[in-house]
C-alpha cells in the first residue's frame, strides 16, 4: 500500500474510531461524581482489616495480588526476551579503555548518587503499605541508582554489579518467591496467596503480613530485572561506542 492509500484508508477509520470513543464516554458518569462500590469498599476495609494505610498497595499486593503476580512475570518475560535478543550479538572488545575518563569529583558524586538511589528504593519498598511506594517503584529506584555507577564511577564497578550470573538468579528467585508464597498458602490449606501472617501494626514497616513478603519479592525482581535491562542496553550500544572513540 502506498502511504497515500494508507492515509485514505486510515483517515475515515480513525475519525469513526474517535467518534465511537466519544459516544462511549458520553455514557460514563460525570467526572468526579461517583464513588464506585468496589473502591469505596476497599477504602473502608483496607485499614481495619489489613492494617494497611495505603489502600492502593493493599489492592496491588493483597486484594488483587494475583494480578500483580502476572504483572511481575510480564516484566520477567520481557527482560528474558531482551536478554535473549541482545545476548546473541557479538560484543566488541576494548571496553576497559573508557575507565580513565571520569574525574574524582564525578566519581564521588556518582557513588553518593548510587547510595541515595538505593536508599530511596529500599525506603519506598519498606513503607509501601504506609505511604506511596511499593515493590515496583522501589525496585526501579534501586536499579536507577545502581546505573549511576556506570555513568559516574568506573566501568569495573559497574560490570561488577551488572553481572548476569548474579542478576539472573536474583530475578528468578524474586519472581519465583512470589509464586512460592502463593503456594505456601495452598499447602496450609488456604486459597492461593492468602495472607498467612497477621496483619501487623498499622502505619509501620511491619504492616501487611505475608503481603509484605510478596512486596519485597516483587521489589527484588523489579530491581534485578531493570538492572538486567539497563545493563543489556548499555553493553549493547554504549560501551562499544566508548571503546572505539577512546
Amino acid at each position: 500500500m502506498t502511504r497515500r492509500a494508507r492515509l485514505w484508508l486510515f483517515g475515515p477509520a480513525v475519525a469513526g474510531f474517535g467518534a465511537l470513543l466519544v459516544w462511549a464516554i458520553a455514557g460514563l458518569p460525570d467526572f468526579g461524581s461517583t464513588q464506585h462500590r468496589y473502591g469505596y469498599l476497599i477504602n473502608h476495609v483496607a485499614l481495619p482489616e489489613r492494617h494497611m494505610t495505603n489502600a492502593v498497595t493493599a489492592v496491588v499486593f493483597d486484594y488483587r495480588g494475583f494480578d500483580t503476580m502476572g504483572e511481575e512475570f510480564i516484566l520477567f518475560a520481557a527482560v528474558t526476551g531482551v536478554v535473549l535478543l541482545l545476548r546473541q550479538h557479538e560484543r566488541e572488545q576494548g571496553r576497559e579503555s573508557s575507565d580513565s575518563t571520569r574525574s574524582d569529583p564525578v566519581r564521588v558524586i556518582g557513588v553518593l548518587g548510587v547510595g541515595v538511589g538505593v536508599l530511596i528504593g529500599l525506603w519506598l519498598i519498606a513503607l509501601g503499605f504506609v505511604t506511596p511506594g511499593g515493590g515496583f517503584q522501589g525496585g526501579v529506584a534501586i536499579a536507577s541508582g545502581v546505573v549511576l555507577l556506570y555513568f559516574a564511577a568506573d566501568y569495573r564497578a559497574w560490570s561488577g554489579v551488572s553481572r548476569t550470573d548474579v542478576l539472573e538468579p536474583i530475578e528468578g528467585v524474586g519472581a519465583g518467591a512470589y509464586v512460592v508464597i502463593g503456594i505456601a498458602a495452598l499447602i496450609a490449606g488456604m486459597p492461593f496467596l492468602t495472607n498467612l501472617l497477621g496483619p501487623g501494626k498499622a502505619g509501620t514497616v511491619w504492616s501487611g503480613g505475608s503481603a509484605a513478603l510478596v512486596n519485597w519479592a516483587a521489589g527484588m525482581e523489579v530491581a534485578a530485572a531493570n538492572l538486567l535491562l539497563f545493563g543489556e542496553f548499555l553493553e549493547e550500544y554504549i560501551v562499544p561506542l566508548h571503546g572505539r572513540r577512546a
Binding site: 500500500m1 494508507r6 484508508l9 486510515f10 477509520a13 480513525v14 469513526g16 474510531f17 465511537l20 470513543l21 459516544w23 462511549a24 464516554i25 458520553a26 455514557g27 460514563l28 458518569p29 461517583t34 464506585h36 462500590r37 468496589y38 473502591g39 469498599l41 493483597d62 486484594y63 488483587r64 495480588g65 494475583f66 494480578d67 502476572g70 504483572e71 512475570f73 510480564i74 520477567f76 518475560a77 528474558t80 526476551g81 531482551v82 535473549l84 535478543l85 546473541q88 550479538h89 550470573d165 539472573e168 538468579p169 530475578e171 528468578g172 519472581a175 519465583g176 509464586v179 512460592v180 502463593g182 495452598l186 490449606g189 488456604m190 486459597p191 492461593f192 496467596l193 492468602t194 495472607n195
Partner: protein, 590 residues
C-alpha cells in the same frame, strides 16, 4: 479439589523462574527436564480439573477474598469443562513442543523453555479467569512471551520484522481491551465478569456498552487473527522457530476466540442479546475464505500453514457467532482437532527443514520421495484439516452445521466447507510436490517466503518424528472418540449460561448437574456427510489444479499486495476493523 485450581498457572511459572535462576548452574539437560516435568504436571492438573469441573463447582478466590453481598473484592478462577479443556490442550501442545525442541533447537535459545512455560501459564490463566482485568494481564503475558519467542532467530530481518509487527498489533489490541475495562468499571464499578454481567443485564445497550464490547472484541480478535486483524499472523508464524509455531497455532491463537466467547456470554449477553452474533458470523466467513485463498497462494510451508490457521479460526469464529451452545461446541471440538493437526504439520515442516534444509514447496519438489512415514503423516494432517467423514475437524464442522441450520443460517455452510477444503488443498498440493515429485517445478502464482535457517546437520530426528506423529494422530482421530461431541455440547451449555455462572461465582450456589451424556458416536446428518465428502473431493481437485503453473491475475496480486508486511498498514487496518465492528454494532444493537 479446590486447591488444584491455581496450579496450572503457578507450576509453570515457578518452574520458569527456577530455570532462569539456575541458568548458570544447571546443565541444559536438567533445565529441559524441569520444563518437561512442569508441562506434564500442568497437563495432568488440567485433565483432572476438566473431569472434576463436571462434578463440582470449582471457584477459587485468590487470597481468600470471597465476595461480600454479591460484591467481588478479589480475583476468582472459575473452572468449567471448556476452560479446563483449553488448559489441557495448551499444556499438551507445550509439552510436545518442549520434547520436540530437545534435539531441534540450538543452544542459542537458553531461555526458550522458560518463555514457553510462561506462555503456557498465561494461556491457562486466561482460560480460567473470571475477572476482566485479570484476562488482560494474562493476554499481555502470553503476548510478551510470544513476541520474544518469535524473534529468537535474530540476525535475519524476517523474524525481527515478524516479531515487531506481531508485538505492535497485539499490544494495541491489548490497550483496546484496557480502555474497555476502564469504561466498564466506570459504568458498573466491577471487574468481575459475573458481577459485570449482572450489572449490565438490567441495562439497555447504550453507547458505552456497545463500544466496550467492540473494543474487547477487537482486542481479542487481534490475538485470534480475524480479518482485518490477521495480517501479523502469517509474518510471525513464517519466521518463528518450529516448536514455537506449534504452540502458537495449537493454543495461543485460539485463546482470542475463547476470550470473545467468555466475555460475551458472562458479561455482555444480557445487555446486547443475540443480535451481536450476525457480525461475528460474517467476519468468520470472510476470514475463513480469505485464509483459505491465501493459503493456496503460498509456497513457503510455514506461511501456508499460517494462513490455514487463519482459515480455521474463521470457521471457529462462525461457530461462536451462531451464539448457541451447539455452535460453541463445534468451535471447541474443531479447536482441538485443528490445533493438534496443525501443530503436527508444523512439526513435520520442521522435520523437512532438518533433513532437506528448506521449507519451500518448489525447492523441495521431489526431495521427499522415499520418505514414506513423513509423507503419510503430512497427507493425514492435510486431510484431517479438510474434515472428511468422521476424521479430523469433521466433528466440529458437523456441530457447526447443525447449529447453523438450526439458526437458519445454512447459507454459510458452503463457504465454511469450501474454505477449509481450499486450505487443505494447498497442503495436499505441497505434499504431492514434495513427496511424490508431481507437478511443475515453478509457479509464478505462489509467494516466495523468507529463507529459514535449518538446524545443525546431523540433528537426530527420532524423538521429533514421534512427537510429530503423536500430534497428527491425535488430531486425526478426535472426531472418532465416542461421546466427545456430546460432552462438548454439555460443556458448552454450561459455558453459555450467564445466570448460573453468576450464581456460582458470586453467591457460591451449586447448580444442578446435567445428566451424563451417553458414550457413543453420534451419526451426523446426511447433508453434513455430503458436504464432508464434497470438501475432500474439492480439496483433491484443487490440489491437482494447483500442481500446474498459473499466471498471477490482477485480483490475486491485489490481495497479496494488501498483505504488505508494513506495520503502519496493519495498524491502519486495525483501526478500520474496530471502527467497522463498532459502527455495525451501533446500528444493530443500539
Amino acid at each position: 479439589m479446590n486447591w488444584l485450581v491455581p496450579l496450572p498457572v503457578a507450576v509453570p511459572l515457578v518452574c520458569a523462574a527456577l530455570i532462569t535462576a539456575t541458568d548458570h548452574v544447571l546443565p541444559r539437560l536438567a533445565k529441559d527436564a524441569i520444563g518437561i516435568a512442569a508441562a506434564a504436571g500442568t497437563l495432568a492438573f488440567a485433565v483432572v480439573l476438566c473431569f472434576e469441573s463436571g462434578r463440582h463447582q470449582l471457584v477459587h478466590w485468590f487470597g481468600g477474598w470471597e465476595p461480600r453481598g454479591g460484591l467481588a473484592i478479589g480475583i476468582a478462577f472459575k473452572v468449567d469443562p471448556l476452560g479446563a479443556a483449553m488448559c489441557a490442550l495448551a499444556a499438551f501442545v507445550v509439552l510436545l513442543a518442549l520434547l520436540y525442541s530437545l534435539t531441534f533447537m540450538e543452544e542459542a535459545a537458553p531461555f526458550f523453555d522458560a518463555l514457553v512455560l510462561v506462555c503456557c501459564a498465561a494461556l491457562c490463566g486466561f482460560a480460567l479467569s473470571a475477572d476482566l482485568f485479570n484476562l488482560f494481564v494474562w493476554l499481555e503475558l502470553a503476548g510478551v512471551a510470544a513476541f520474544a519467542l518469535t524473534g529468537l532467530e535474530i540476525r535475519r530481518i524476517g523474524p525481527l520484522q515478524g516479531a515487531v509487527n506481531f508485538a505492535i498489533v497485539n499490544t494495541l489490541g491489548g490497550y483496546f481491551v484496557l480502555i474497555a475495562v476502564a469504561l466498564i468499571y466506570g459504568r458498573t464499578g466491577a471487574l468481575n465478569l459475573a458481577q459485570i454481567g449482572r450489572s449490565l443485564a438490567s441495562e439497555r445497550a447504550d453507547g458505552l456498552v456497545v463500544v466496550s464490547l467492540t473494543l474487547v472484541t477487537a482486542g481479542f480478535l487481534c490475538k485470534a487473527a480475524v480479518v482485518p486483524f490477521h495480517f501479523w499472523l502469517a509474518d510471525a508464524y513464517a519466521v518463528a522457530p518450529t516448536p514455537v509455531c506449534a504452540v502458537f497455532a495449537g493454543a495461543m491463537t485460539d485463546i482470542g476466540l475463547f476470550g470473545v466467547a467468555r466475555v460475551y456470554w458472562t458479561a455482555f449477553s444480557g445487555a446486547v442479546g443475540a443480535d451481536a452474533g450476525e457480525l461475528l458470523l460474517a467476519l468468520g466467513v470472510v476470514t475463513a475464505v480469505l485464509g483459505g485463498v491465501m493459503a493456496f497462494l503460498q509456497r513457503h510451508l510455514k506461511r501456508m500453514l499460517a494462513y490455514s490457521v487463519v482459515c480455521h479460526i474463521g470457521i471457529m469464529l462462525a461457530g461462536v457467532g451462531l451464539l448457541s451452545a451447539k455452535g460453541l461446541a463445534g468451535a471447541a471440538t474443531m479447536l482441538v482437532a485443528h490445533g493438534l493437526a496443525t501443530a503436527g504439520l508444523f512439526f513435520a515442516g520442521g522435520l523437512l527443514l532438518a533433513r532437506e534444509r528448506s521449507v519451500d514447496e518448489l525447492a523441495l519438489r521431489g526431495k521427499g520421495v522415499g520418505r514414506r512415514g513423513l509423507a503419510v503423516l503430512w497427507f493425514a494432517g492435510a486431510l484431517a484439516l479438510a474434515g472428511p467423514p468422521y476424521i479430523g475437524t469433521f466433528l466440529g464442522h458437523s456441530l457447526i452445521d447443525d447449529a447453523a441450520v438450526g439458526a437458519g443460517r445454512s447459507w454459510t455452510l458452503p463457504f465454511l466447507w469450501l474454505a477449509g477444503a481450499c486450505a487443505s488443498a494447498a497442503l495436499v498440493r505441497a505434499g504431492a510436490r514434495i513427496f511424490l515429485g508431481w507437478g511443475a517445478s515453478d509457479d509464478p502464482l505462489l509467494t516466495r517466503g523468507p529463507a529459514e535457517r535449518p538446524p545443525r546437520r546431523g540433528t537426530r530426528t527420532g524423538l521429533t518424528s514421534v512427537v510429530c506423529a503423536t500430534a497428527i494422530a491425535c488430531g486425526f482421530v478426535v472426531s472418532l472418540v465416542p461421546g466427545f461431541g456430546q460432552r462438548a455440547e454439555a460443556a458448552a451449555t454450561q459455558f453459555v449460561d450467564r445466570t448460573a455462572y453468576a450464581a456460582v461465582v458470586l453467591d457460591g450456589k451449586t447448580v444442578a448437574r446435567p445428566p451424563r451424556p451417553p458414550v457413543a458416536l453420534e451419526p451426523s446428518s446426511t447433508s453434513t456427510l455430503l458436504y464432508a465428502s464434497g470438501a475432500v473431493l474439492v480439496a483433491l481437485a484443487l490440489a491437482g489444479y494447483g500442481l500446474r503453473p498459473h499466471r498471477s491475475t490482477r485480483p490475486v496480486a491485489a490481495i497479496k499486495a494488501a498483505h504488505s508486511g508494513v506495520v503502519g498498514d496493519y495498524v491502519a487496518w486495525l483501526t478500520v476493523g474496530t471502527a467497522l465492528i463498532g459502527g455495525v454494532w451501533a446500528l444493530m444493537l443500539h
